[in-house]
């Protein structure tokens, strides 16, 4: 208990010492908070995007089979469906029709898709919220596009897709199979690709190998691979931004060193008096480290809190293009707030560790002053 009381008294002393030099400490605290804010904004945002992508891919098909011709993606013949369905372990297989169309009017790409249940009536379309906004159309309006043969293909918009699913549906056009084939000139015996559902998730890899053996010209994409690629991409982007910010961390460490080195005459006298009344060098170092700890915790909590607000309430305006990617019809989607403990730990290593290291030498220099010299 005596040890605890001693620490409480030291903390009390450290706090009053910080309060005696408000301007100097406020400047350090502001820079410290800004560094934590920058780093934690990057980390919070990339973590949230990773989660979003993982949630999205959870609903993706286990296997996608595409045909390759000369190393390029090509349309797959419909008879391949029968070959795939014959593979033991396959629960279901279905052909997909999807593609991109460039709209010169708004210089944007739309994604055209035929829904799996083929529920759209011919001549109609359901459109994504961003398409509706950028073209200024709504239910009942007619949109017309130039087909593959130059003839126009017209769609009557029946409804728009809710903004909540903007992440996947911002630039989407849901159309009927006949209209899709007429627009892009795709023959009736071809699909864009084939999606496969597997009965036992543990056999995905084995089934993929069997399909690969049965269809040598096919490229098989596993959901796990897609998930892994997304994770790697976002990890890499986050890491790149952090490496760029290492310069800021270094500048911050030098700043902290300078601030801690610049002892005023008052501070030196204060330390001299403390040593004259019996404080050990280790005690002075202890109290100065405690001051650093208070600064670190305050800056860490304030910076992290501000970054949380920045990312989850203000849309992370500072890093959005770098981490999310960009496009004319980019979906506006709010990120779901989430905190990751491993990120907090690594953030601690990025900020508190360099700060504490940078201030040790100045603290030691201050602590070993000779009381006789400074009080004279």
């Amino acid at each position: 208990m005596a040890g605890l009381e001693r620490q409480r008294q030291l903390l009390d002393f450290a706090l009053s010492s910080l309060a005696r030099r408000p301007m100097k400490n406020l400047a350090s605290l502001t820079v410290y908070t800004a560094v934590v804010f920058l780093l934690s904004s990057v980390m919070l945002m990339s973590h949230a995007i990773r989660r979003e992508a993982a949630a999205l891919l959870a609903g993706a098909p286990e296997l996608v089979v595409q045909r390759l011709v000369a190393g390029r993606h090509d349309l797959i013949p419909t008879d391949r469906l029968a070959t795939i369905r014959a593979v033991r372990g396959v629960a279901a297989a279905g052909g997909r029709l999807w593609g991109y169309l460039f709209d010169p009017a708004v210089a944007a790409n739309y994604t055209f898709l035929v829904p799996p249940d083929r529920s759209i009536a011919a001549g109609t379309a359901i459109i994504g919220s961003s398409v509706a906004a950028v073209r200024g159309v709504g239910p009942g309006d007619v949109m017309s596009f130039r087909g593959y043969d130059g003839r126009p293909v017209a769609f009557t918009v029946t409804s728009t897709i809710a903004a909540e699913s903007a992440l996947v549906a911002a630039d989407l056009f849901l159309v009927s199979e006949g209209d899709f084939r007429r627009l892009f000139g795709i023959p009736a015996d071809r699909f864009t690709d084939i999606v496969v559902t597997i009965r036992n998730p543990r056999e995905v890899r084995t089934v993929a190998e069997k399909i690969d053996a049965a269809l040598p010209d096919a490229r098989i994409i596993l959901r796990d691979e897609m998930r892994r690629t997304y994770e790697s991409v976002f990890d890499w982007r986050e890491g790149m931004v952090l490496v760029l910010l290492v310069g800021a961390i270094l500048a911050f460490a030098i700043f902290s060193w300078e601030k801690a080195s610049g002892l005023s005459a008052d501070e030196r006298r204060e330390i001299g008096i403390l040593k004259a009344v019996g404080w050990e060098t280790a005690d002075v170092i202890g109290v100065k480290m405690l001051e650093g700890l208070v600064m670190s915790l305050t800056a860490f909590l304030a910076g992290y809190g501000l970054a949380f607000l920045h990312v989850f309430h203000f849309g992370a305006r500072l890093f959005e293009p770098v981490l999310k990617g960009w496009s004319v019809l980019y979906p506006e989607f709010p990120l779901a707030p989430s905190v990751d403990e491993i990120q907090m730990a690594s953030l601690f290593f990025f900020t508190v560790f360099p700060y504490t290291l940078a201030t040790i030498v100045p603290i030691w220099r201050a602590a070993v002053v000779d009381p006789d010299m400074v009080m004279r």
Binding site: R227, R228, D235, G239, I285, I342, F349, V368
Partner: protein, 349 residues
Amino acid sequence: MLFHPVIIALLLSSLTSTAMVGASVPFAVRLLRRWDLASGSEAQLLLERRTYLVSTLVQLVLLAQLASLVLFVFNADRMASLFTGAMCAVGTLEADRFGFPALYANIALFFLAAAWLTLDHVDNRGWDYPLIRVKYAALLTLAPVLALASLAELAYFLGLRADVITSCCSTLFSGGGITVAGNSLAALPHGLALVLLCLTLLAVFALGLRFLVGGRGGTAYGAASAAAFPVALAAVVSTLSVYVYELPNHHCPFCLLKAEYGHVGYALYIPLFAATACGIGAGIAQRCADRASLAEAAQRTARCLAGWSLAGFAAFAIVAVCLVARSHLILFGPSAWRPLAEFVVGGGR
């Protein structure tokens, strides 16, 4: 893989730590050669002043290393999703040949760092720098281990490739397949592993209580704590993990950390590591009590550490018993006890 945020943080910490401790080595050598407390020369005064800087630096660096072991394992588990074939930390560590060496080096560093911090703590309680030479000689032993651990970590992270197909824990800890240290641990019979664990823990508790009550046998308690660590790990790999997974052939010590098993691994490993480190520290502190200026302080520190260590081992034991009790797996049915019963009923004939 080098641009993974946690990897950058771990490398930042380990390389800075190595640089700091490396920079302290020339000072340690100078101190070992020239330290003379009776002298009032300027060089001696300078040495005395510098010890505060070096001690504080090394303290901070070693504390960071203790934390980075936890981060290293946690990250290895998390990164399993990035490698084909990896189900937990084992897959991530197997993805490069330096993975397990980096882990073992970090574990060794953890205990060496804890021992050095104990020495430093006890030394600071005495007015005449009683352990200064021991402390800096120990730093010279610790520095190469830290450098090796950092190099292994760097080589591991540089060698990580996402396109590598790695091995799942079931091929490593199933008694067949690839051979690592865990294989022989997994092959240990369940009964033997549990009996060894019980006997070791009983010995640890007996020695600990004897030291706390009578003040004797601190060094023996330290040695017993160090010996209990591998025995406990062997029991976890061979038997306790089997009880948690309720699968007789799954022995992975890392899957215990996963959410699907309620992160029970942390409840086992954190008390075990802390108890071992504190136990070794208690032994070291007790050994220092023969210095005149430390007679009382070292004894007090040793008792305090022994208390924490006993609490840690007790927590480990309680968690282990709970894991066995709540498991639906029955490894020792009535038939397992029949030979013993026949022996008793038959009067030992």
